[in-house]
Amino acid sequence: MRGWSDVFRKELKEFVRDKRVLYSAVLGPLVLEVFIILLFGYLSTSFTKDFAHKVVVENSRHAEPFLSAMVESKKFEIVELTPGMSAEEALAQKMGRLAISFPENFQELLEAGQSPEVRVTYDPNEETALISLAAVKEVYSSFASKYSIERMTELNIDARTLLPFVLVEDKLPVEKPFAGAWLVGFLPYLIVIWAFYGGFSIVGDLVAGEKERGSLETLLITPVSRQAIAFGKFCALGSVSLASCISALAGVLIMGVAPIPMTQRLFESGLSLSPASMFAIAVTIIPLVMFFAGILLAVSTFARNQREVQSYLSLLSFVVLIPAIFSQIIGYTDIAGKAWVNFIPILNSASVMRDALLNRVDWTSLGMTSAVSVVLAIGGLWLAVKLFTKEKVLMRV
């Protein structure tokens, strides 16, 4: 294997001098992460603000004390219904997401111990109306419980005897996660994506580009074995992909420590990662990057030219993207802990990384996932080397 390190160093030197590679594989992930976090931070802030449910109220002056409960919850923006306008007309004019109509004698009926009818009008096809309805029901439920207890106390009845049981919440003592829930779900996806796309900027140039330019033949007539040449290129490709992952992570860390109020919600639990979690992430990323490097190098070797490389990669992207996208929602399903997930490439890596970011390391999953990735990395490298030593493949231009 003499000469592989020379090939590796030469490739890296060329990449470092290529602004295109620096921008897309190193600077790109960092800038993109910063941009994505800013964007999601902004959306998250806007989302929170928007969630003051705008509700149109008819006869609000008669609606005490329920209206006070709504105001106290700080979730609602109350809009008085214009006199002479119906609830339906108000909703049609987008005055609010839903309308609550209190009867004019609401308070009197309430005090008399009767149950006045309060009508809620909403569009069942409108998602925001349904969300606001749930918020109104929540306030109602709390208001109703409080009201019932007060009434029963007035009647000298112990309210607790009417409850089937008392629900007590008992939170498990878990480690503080790396960041907020959104980032923990999204970060593994980003890492996987950059492990794959990081090499895109150079993969076309590595072999197919050399075939096109005619410089590959020069390399083939040196006394360095083809295996060594392929391995040197494989390492260079893996390094660039790894640099992309690190750059993407650096972008997240920068935003985590930057005092930007808009994004602080995304880092609500700070940035804490245990040494075990760091180790788990590294052990997961490295073989994954090597697996991608092997596959990408095989594609570049097989292709006649750089354009052909891009065509193959467009198709290959979907194979990587589907499990990567699924990895974002795996935390919301019961399959996250299933043993078979450890055998699904990409998804297993994302799942282990998600656990690591929650500062919990399942050593069995980590071991199985790493083993699968190592086997695939060896397979990818074997394929790339095999193609590199095939005269028919190497000589087709």
Binding site: G3, E14, R17, G214, E217, L219, I221, P223, M395
Partner: protein, 248 residues
């Protein structure tokens, strides 16, 4: 020294069936000789040189370069040869000096000698002016000299030149041709592939006319002229290759 015996390379083509790119070629050359491969485009010259330089494997036959079998001792063969072609590009983001150092390492030149050898080659080809400029920024002539430097850096006893002046201007071609001529004095074995008659006439000690993958004739320019009864090499070449074309 090169010995080629009944060397052949056949490809399977989905449209054309079996293509006999090189078909039973035999010849030998000695140190200090410039051996010309004269043939039209597609005659099989490049395929032949690729087999001799171990880039592709022969379908049948055998060849020895500097005492090493191309099929069984490819590494030893590669150490013994230098290969130059105009279709071979340089690494655009390396300087000529960096590229020579890189190639020197690949050829296994000891680090203690590499620096001196690179400087010696740069001086020999008068490359000092542009040795530290990126290859991407070099003129065609400078690129060609860099390519030449890469070919001879490890001082191989056997040199292959595959259409080395194709697409070059007169001045750049002159540098290459003068270099090839100088190889004779340095006792190198040179195989010079070309389709340009005047170049073959000027530098070759012996000329091998190759057509449709087969050797049509081998000899000195005088011998070929005598065999065909023609005076100019162009007429000699046509006389040796036309019968097959008319038969086809």
């Amino acid at each position: 020294m090169i010995t080629v015996e009944d060397l052949a390379k056949h490809f399977k083509d989905p449209k054309r069936g079996v293509v006999r790119a090189v078909d039973g070629v035999s010849f030998s050359t000695s140190p200090g000789e410039i051996f010309g491969l004269l043939g039209a485009n597609g005659a099989g010259k490049t395929t032949l040189l690729r087999m001799l330089s171990t880039v592709i494997a022969p379908t049948s036959g055998r060849a020895e370069i500097h005492g090493h079998d191309v099929a069984n001792e490819p590494d030893a063969v590669r150490k013994s040869i230098g290969f130059m072609s105009t279709t071979t590009a340089l690494y655009s983001r390396l300087t000529p000096r960096e590229m020579l150092k890189y190639m020197g390492k690949l050829y296994g030149i000891a680090s203690s000698q590499l620096g001196a050898r690179v400087e010696e080659t740069i001086a020999m080809l008068e490359m000092e002016e542009f040795a530290d400029r990126l290859c991407d920024k070099l003129s065609t002539g400078q690129k060609q000299r860099t390519s030449l430097a890469r070919t001879i850096l490890h001082d191989p006893p056997v040199l292959f030149f595959d259409e080395p002046t194709a697409g070059l201007d007169v001045l750049a071609s002159k540098t290459i041709m003068e270099f090839i001529e100088s190889c004779r004095d340095r006792n190198k074995t040179v195989v010079f592939s070309t389709h340009i008659m005047s170049e073959a006439e000027r530098v070759c000690d012996r000329i091998c006319v190759i057509h449709d993958g087969k050797i049509r004739a081998i000899g000195t320019l005088q011998e070929l002229k005598q065999a065909t009864g023609e005076e100019r090499l162009e007429r000699v070449f046509l006389a040796l290759t036309e019968p097959t074309e008319s038969a086809a």
